[in-house]
Symmetry: C2
DNA sequence: TCAACAGATTAGAATTATTCCAAGAATGCA
DNA sequence: TGCATTCTTGGAATAATTCTAATCTGTTGA
């Protein structure tokens, strides 16, 4: 009954870092943004949809509207804190890993898994179209469970 | 007033080929499917959305519902006549080029342009996850107009 | 030739993901 | 503290796509 008196001290530092990170990105550290940032950056790299993240925030007791989740994901993306991954039409994934890397996409489960940039190298790439520059080179390796029964 | 008597003979062969192609794919050569197939495969390789194709068919005088366009695009894809390209969440493109190749995606205009498979070569690719096989390796090179004013 | 059945088409409703909007809060500088 | 600015929000609006149930068409076998 008295053992949870000041649990917040455990996370106080992480929270302060989050606030700093938001400020550096030019975003006011509001209650909602802090909550989402902690969910997004508190653990290992991850890939989330707006709906998913909204669920997590709700479960964690943060009152936040879905519209705000969408707004925040886009703001974080614009600020370079997130990166949008397109692997499936009709659903947007946001990746907390903003470094150069690629993705496996599991067609059966819909899972997305990072591929380290070091594991993909190009021997040839086409010329960049005149007057343009490359914004990104995205590689998606789509995989599916191997057929047990081989067709012949 | 009498110079368009039997214009259909000009396209008769192409139409017959289309009918054959549909039959081989196990699809009944219906009026709608024939019309869409001719729009899709009548000219050079192209990338279309359902909405676009529906508009073209309507303009060409073919009465066809949007639902049928969606059905047909998916059936053609399942039959290997089309390939779906995912470059933008929220909008599906279908590519009449089903061979191995990749894409430029123009972020400003939304245009999609084929890159011949010969122009993309890998020096390294990660191992395929256990129990899985590769369905496809999709490379999307996202380009944007080059900044005139270089930041320093 | 044609009946009959499987397969195809359709209008419109339903669903899903996302964005828009206007109004009420929260934030942080002066 | 006092505001101006920026945020958040519920709910309506939009967009792409899928579903549904009724109707129609293509094909096949007698």
């Amino acid at each position: 009954m008295d053992m949870h008196e000041h649990v917040h001290t455990a996370d106080a530092q992480g929270r302060q870092d989050t606030v700093e990170r938001l400020k550096r990105a030019g975003l006011r550290p509001t209650r909602q943004r802090i909550a989402l940032a902690e969910l997004l950056f508190g653990t290992a790299d991850r890939h989330v949809t707006a709906e998913q993240l909204h669920g997590e925030a709700s479960n964690a007791g943060t009152r936040i509207s879905l519209a705000t989740v969408y707004n925040t994901l886009h703001q974080f993306t614009a600020a370079g804190l997130l990166r949008e991954v397109v692997v499936e039409s009709g659903r947007s994934y946001f990746d907390t890993n903003t470094g150069s890397h690629h993705h496996f996409y599991y067609e059966d489960s819909g899972d997305i898994v990072d591929i380290d940039a070091a594991n993909v190298a190009f021997a040839a790439l086409p010329e960049t179209p005149d007057g343009h520059e490359i914004a990104a080179v995205d590689v998606v390796i789509r995989v599916r469970p191997r057929d047990r029964i081989r067709r012949r």
